[in-house]
């Protein structure tokens, strides 16, 4: 019986020792990255820390933010208060995740589009896309600006691939697609990859 007890103890310790984290795919109904090292988790934590330091994080300069009509929109920020200020979108589209309960929502306004994702039951900003040249980045780059102007404003610390210039600050990524030396797409996104 002693041997049996030892075997059981070893198995129990083995199983317990293999613990990774408490979130399993089954209880993680939104299907987000479920590992403790997930970037969305990290993004959330960074956001929490930021909130502690500066409750009005709209003025935080450590990330790229989009400003329109005095409203500041930051990636990973809670969407509810932003939508209240922006009013009714021109178009709304929602894309539920396959199988899981998360919902990607796209709000289209006159000159920009906001995509949200669900995090712990709240809608947060996943991306902002500028649609025409009546709006610009906070630093002043419009659609159809030249690549020289782009680099003059944002510097040369970018990653470039297939004409896509990417700048990162904290959890935000600001991407410019350049064709024929002109910026043809501007997008703010949440950094979610390692």
């Amino acid at each position: 019986m002693k041997k049996l007890a030892i075997i059981l103890l070893v198995i129990a310790l083995f199983i317990a020792g293999c613990a990774q984290d408490d979130k399993t795919p089954a209880n993680n109904k939104d299907g987000q990255d479920i590992k403790s090292g997930s970037n969305l988790d990290k993004a959330d934590n960074k956001e929490d820390e930021k909130d502690k330091e500066d409750p009005d994080n709209n003025n935080n300069q450590t990330e790229y933010v989009f400003e329109t009509a005095g409203i500041t929109i930051a990636v990973n920020g809670e969407l509810g208060p932003i939508l209240e200020k922006l009013g009714e979108p021109l178009e709304y589209f929602e894309a539920p995740s396959c199988a899981f309960q998360g919902m990607e929502k796209i709000y289209t306004y006159n000159s920009f589009e906001i995509t949200s994702y669900e995090l712990d039951g709240k809608d947060c900003v996943l991306a902002i896309v500028l649609l025409d040249d009546t709006v610009a980045t906070k630093e002043g780059i419009y659609l159809y600006a030249s690549v020289d102007d782009l680099i003059k404003v944002y510097g040369d610390n970018y990653k470039e691939s297939f004409g896509l210039y990417e700048y990162e600050e904290g959890i935000s990524r600001l991407s410019f697609f350049v064709e024929d030396n002109k910026v043809t797409s501007i997008e703010y996104t949440l950094v979610t990859e390692e």
């Binding site: 075997i7 293999c18 795919p25 089954a26 109904k29 987000q32 199988a99 589009e113 896509l164």
Partner: protein, 360 residues
């Protein structure tokens, strides 16, 4: 050591292993009343078929919500099974097909090409929905190795208890009820939804830096093509008419080129909306991402027509053995259909089929 003692030790070890097996079954998610898509892959093994299906479908949600094997049987006498799962990546499709060929050799394999957009593993949660349902085999091990995220481990898939042991404090009556056997939820891999949510807007496609499908995606598409050719199976590529995620023209061109180069039939249903008769105000249950029952039946009718005209498929509806097997499937299909329409009428949504209550 005497004989009695050896026998006793063997019995003890067997008891321990059996207990662990039960414990593992208990702790694993059941995917019966929520996230039912997690049950799709394993339901195939309960198929009472000692015959080859004419068609095997592989791919992501776009296959298991767009084609109805029951409709293909009723209208053309075609036998089929959908081995689809949520966000099934192309290497998972390949290994699922490899595994399926150990059980049967279909005439045709239909692969939905949306999965070409992914060139690397995406999320553990989705990996689990496909891989946990696969029976242990060399194909499963290879599928797991190809699918794992950086911080996942092969051993957690071989012994899922290592991954799910922390579920002990969230077990529900459902976990106990389905320890050994689960209810049948699908119709030869088809996930039925009769509810309707019309398309109201179509999102614009975001610009991508690079529209070229990745090397890994192409590698596995080549492997699927070769596996089919080696086994005398016709491979058919399809793109179902979902309006989102956006199917870019550049992606379309690559698939057209691939199909042409490899002499494959490719059907892009996005270009056949009128011919098929898809009505986006009636034939989708989530505003255009997936087809509902009426949409799936229309697509099946069109696909069956194309396939029977293109390939040498035998209508099996006059075969008594098949008739009996498929009548049972039709009965279950009609019963679920009636139940769903009833719930829709009574509650306004599919209360017991995993649908979300409409917001006020």
């Amino acid at each position: 050591m005497d004989k009695k003692r050896i026998i006793l030790n063997i019995v003890v070890v067997c008891l321990i292993l059996f207990s662990l097996y039960i414990l593992q079954n208990l702790l694993m998610p059941k995917y019966v009343s929520a996230i039912v898509e997690g049950s799709l892959i394993e339901e195939y093994y309960n198929e009472k078929a000692d015959y080859n299906h004419d068609i095997i479908f592989i791919g992501d949600c776009e296959v298991y919500e767009s084609f109805s094997p029951i409709s293909l049987w009723k209208n053309y006498g075609i036998t089929s099974y959908i081995r689809g799962s949520a966000q099934q990546l192309i290497w998972q499709s390949y290994y699922l097909l490899e595994e399926t060929l150990k059980y049967e050799t279909p005439e045709i394999v239909v692969f939905n090409v949306l999965a070409m957009q992914y060139n690397e593993p995406q999320k553990e949660a989705y990996n689990r929905l496909t891989l946990d349902g696969m029976r242990m085999s060399a194909s499963k091990i290879r599928a797991v190795k190809a699918s794992m995220m950086e911080d996942e481990r092969l051993i957690d898939y071989i012994f899922p208890i290592l991954r799910y042991h922390s579920r002990w404090n969230e077990l529900t009556s459902e976990d106990f009820k389905y320890v050994f056997k689960k209810d049948k939820l699908f119709h030869n891999g088809y996930y039925m939804r009769v509810d309707v949510k019309p398309v109201t807007s179509i999102p614009r496609g975001r610009k991508l830096a690079n529209y070229q499908f990745g090397d890994t995606a192409y590698l596995y598409l080549d492997k699927i093509t070769k596996l089919c050719k080696d086994n005398g199976i016709e491979l058919v590529l399809v793109k179902v008419p979902s309006i989102y995620p956006v199917w870019y023209d550049q992606w379309e061109q690559q698939i057209e080129d691939y199909a042409s180069k490899n002499d494959l039939l490719y059907i892009n249903f996005l270009e056949l909306i009128d011919e098929v008769g898809i009505d986006y105000s009636k034939d989708t249950y989530d505003a255009g991402l997936h087809m509902n029952l009426t949409g799936a039946e229309k697509l099946s009718l069109y696909l069956g027509d194309v396939l029977t005209k293109t390939y040498d498929l035998t209508d099996k509806r006059t075969n008594k053995e098949y008739q009996e097997i498929w009548q049972e499937k039709i009965d279950f299909y009609e019963q679920m259909k009636a139940q769903q329409y009833y719930e829709l009428e009574k509650y306004g949504y599919l209360k017991s089929f995993g649908a979300k209550a409409p917001e006020d």
